[in-house]
Amino acid sequence: MDQSVNDSEPLQQPAPPRGSTNHQITAIMSADSLERLAVAGKGDSTRTLLRVIILLLIAGAAISSRLFSVIRFESIIHEFDPWFNFRATKYLVANGFYKFWDWFDDRTWHPLGRVTGGTLYPGLMVTSGVIYHALRALSIPVDIRNVCVLLAPAFSGLTAYAAYLLTNEMTPSSSAGLLAAIFMGIAPGYISRSVAGSYDNEAIAIFLLVFTFYLWIKALKLGSMLWGALCALFYGYMVASWGGYAFITCLLPLHAFVLICMGRYSTRLYVSYTSWYALGTLASMQIPFVGFLPVKTSEHMPALGIFGFLQLLAFLDYVRSAIPSRQFQTFLWVFAGSVFGIGLTGLVIATSAGYIAPWGGRFYSLWDTGYAKIHIPIIASVSEHQPTAWPAFFFDLNMLIWLLPAGIYLCYQKLADEHVFVIVYALFGSYFAGVMVRLMLTLTPVVCVAAAIALSTILDTYLKAKSPIPEEHLVEEPTDGTSKKVSKPGLRASSKPYIGIYATFSKVTVAGAMTAYLLMFVAHCTWVTSNAYSSPSVVLASRMPDGSQHIIDDYREAYQWLRQNTKDDAKIMSWWDYGYQIGGMADRPTLVDNNTWNNTHIATVGKAMASREEVSYPIMRQHEVDYILVVFGGLLGYSGDDINKFLWMVRIAEGIWPDEVKEREFFTPRGEYRVDAGATDTMKNSLMYKMSYHNYNNLFPPGQAQDRVRGVRLPDDGGPVLNSIEEAFTSENWIIRIYKVKDLDNLGRDHASASAFERGQKKKKVIKKKGPRVLRVD
């Protein structure tokens, strides 16, 4: 746009002369590649056949590398959130779509309940519901659990295919697409969220993300309304599936904006963008959870703003073609720029005045990285919202991480519209992945695409059997004036004419080395998947001294106990991490769960856990709590237990009741967080501490009680005494402990004195001072 101020060519031919030559090159190249593809398709059908076979093999590899956990453990739903999705899917399959849509769940967030149908992304459940019914219709008897467990691996095969399509849009080399497909299939960054049993929104969302991007590039290249509408359709599916759709909502306008700034406004851009935006926004508003957010919140404003700006540009373009006067055109551009500026100012004012909701906490904390820690501890408390240290990048992407910049550099070489997209995506994707571990997932597709472009360029160069003849080029080079002129707008490195590799030896060296690195990449991916990402975390595995595997199944043991020994509507209080699992496996109502929509309610549970029994008991009575569930790893050395999470409970509670719960009081005066004899009184009297260490001493000889997670010896004072609750169940390895909340005392005593009486401690009689006996005198 800036360049065109001092330029007077019509807009359709991109304004600066540099850009136009570039476009011609791309046009020639893409025509060339199309022709070549057409030839390959017609003449050489073996190539197509090979490609299909290779893609099928890639899909097979992608699926099979995700089955470690099924083979090692069993077909089981993993972790936390998947349990809710599984429960919702079961509800959908049992009750039908409309009931699911209006589902009010009174078994979570007791006593509030949750309008589940209106507050979830239904894409995942509907997908597996459709698959389930389709298989039933084909008279294949299949369990809904197996559909859910195997959904993520199945979609990973599709993701690999989507990556193949996307990459083929970027480069004429057909090997790049295949490389991208296999990278996408086995890169641990994606496997981390899509192993069998990881039945989460991301399982289908990554496929939708990549495929939507492919459709966008296709629509942009062709300027086609059909492809734009398809893009909107898949965008709608994506919105229905994952909250991360905002990434698309922000990336596509950004791409359009960058293109406009480069002076590459075109009718293709106009058609594809407007058809995507109009249809996509309508589609997204059909989801109850999204509703009117696309016109109300800040994170959707860039898309709306660019939509309006494109209308303006289209209008100006039309006026400009009608009135070819130079001054007038300058005026128009200034006008367009000022309208953009005024619109931006208006947006800022409307946001600060409260008409447009500001950025949601999760999105805002991506920019202002210190925001969540101060204002929303619940966001900061989630481990996947932490910033990413470099080993995580290398762990998840291995050699792709250093091929990424090389691929981006090659994109600069051609720099057609679609390459701009890859560059913008890579830049923002890597920023977001650096701020939040979880967003490694959105970075992985672009890394696979860029790395495939880089690697395929290398392999194509060094695997060409035909070698150039040295003399020919040595003579030809100095007189070659035309090629210099053509390649001027490109990068410095590619200004010389392309020759090829002379020596077979060089070819063998590079191709051999790259093959070795690729083999190592495969080994790395397998190792990472098998060691880090295939644990269901519901079932733990450990090794016995003789090397055999020992399965620790405390979670399911405890949930099964709840299911079989408690009333159907017994309310279970636990920290929110276990809410979904209790709902899914034990089928009991919970106070809080992993859908952390109500911070105050979570803080209430935090307060109950962090306070003295006398304070906690009324809270639990008010919430009709029947049982309390805590996770304790001290016996086994299981570090993800509640005592280690305890500080977050304190912090979240402190955020609401700063006068009643104080984080400082859980630290010793020297600032240490201790659980042994040196622990503070507040710590020792807190309900969580008491529940964790109740009766723990009895497992050990006197004075030997040890906490194996914290690595400390516990005080030898008989352990904490519980008055208002009693132990109901403790699992085999003490990982889960369940306590029953006592009813009010029959005789109206307080619990402390009632249980003291039962322990046989006599209540100390208050001896009334009566004074010396006085002789009665009549």
Partner: protein
């Protein structure tokens, strides 16, 4: 001029020694006079004791801090301007002293005994002494303590903390002074840069439109982000750290941890590897001389092998169980 009589009485009493037992009313008048001229009141051991003596019908908020550079208390120095801003705007907004709150500031250099008396090992700590007499008297004369466990706190948050303990009394809001200098500077900067861009436009355009510049910018940004730069920014990790053996360790132990220098090394390794890949893909096939081409291919392949092997060995430091390696760094 309602503070004039207060000032008068204060100057009268200032002559007398602290040892003389003054009434709560007098002490408040004295310290309030001080804070009207300069808030917060700079305290010493003696005046601190006098200010917080038990029968008091006013509240006291004191920051116990260590501003001297010797103690290296970064947090103290960061919080001090906020504290001054809060106390100044409070005192200014409450000229008639209806809230009966005295803001104090006690530096470690002036108040060692007080620090020892409270058994403080860290600074800064804020103490709020509620009144023990009068309509807002608290049940316990003990001060309420505020620890800066979550890092520096803006004046507004401190304000809301104080307000919680001062119900029923006026709460003058924090007024940040308009920084005219900052406005002037930014205005000058903006106009200056606009003029500069306008004048230099013909020279700026080639830079903006230069693909090499943009490519370099993008690649550097991507290398920074993928080598954990944002982690350094957010967690404020040290550049290097001392190890127990008295040396300097450049690589942090543990998978979830890193040092500043470590990320720079990793970014450089990634950069070299990328550059080698670019050279093999783009530059080498354009070398016209067969001999130099062979040498270049060998050089870059060797560099990739050595650097990648080094990268893997660094990664094995972070992740002890990692089984893969390449020669020469086994």
């Amino acid at each position: 001029m309602r503070w004039l009589p207060a000032l008068l009485s204060a100057s009268l009493f200032a002559a007398g020694s602290f040892a003389a037992k003054k009434s709560s009313e007098e002490r408040f008048a004295e310290f309030h006079a001080k804070q009207t001229s300069h808030a917060p009141v700079k305290l010493t051991d003696v005046s601190f004791k006098s200010l917080t003596t038990a029968p008091r019908d006013y509240s006291v908020a004191v920051i116990l801090t260590a501003l001297d550079a010797r103690y290296g208390c970064q947090l103290c120095r960061e919080f001090q301007p906020e504290w001054e801003l809060l106390s100044k705007s409070w005192v200014k907004g409450d000229k008639s002293a209806e809230s009966r709150l005295v803001f104090g500031s006690l530096d470690f250099g002036d108040g060692r005994e007080t620090f020892m008396g409270f058994g403080l090992q860290t600074a800064p700590v804020l103490f709020f002494f509620p009144p023990t007499a009068g309509p807002h008297a608290a049940a316990s004369p003990e001060p309420i303590r505020y620890d800066f466990t979550n890092g520096p706190v803006p004046a507004e948050m401190m304000h809301s903390w104080l307000v919680r303990h001062l119900d029923g009394r006026p709460h003058p809001p924090v007024k940040r002074p308009v920084d005219y200098l900052k406005w002037a500077v930014s205005f000058t900067m903006i106009t200056g840069s606009l003029t500069g861009v306008y004048v230099l436009w013909p020279y700026v355009v080639p830079v903006i439109q230069n693909r090499n510049v943009w490519a370099a910018f993008t690649l550097i940004a991507i290398l920074l982000f993928t080598s954990g730069h944002m982690f350094n920014q957010i967690r404020k990790v040290p550049y290097v750290a001392n190890n127990p053996r008295g040396g300097v360790s450049y690589f942090a132990a543990g998978f979830q941890n890193q040092y500043g220098m470590e990320t720079q090394v990793v970014a450089a390794l990634y950069g070299i590897l990328s550059f080698a890949a670019i050279s093999l893909a783009v530059k080498v096939p354009r070398i016209a001389d067969p001999r130099s081409q062979v040498i270049t291919v060998w050089a870059w392949s060797g560099i990739i092998l050595v650097v990648y092997s080094f990268l893997l060995s660094v990664f094995r430091v972070k992740n002890a169980g990692y089984p893969f390696y390449l020669p020469p760094f086994m």
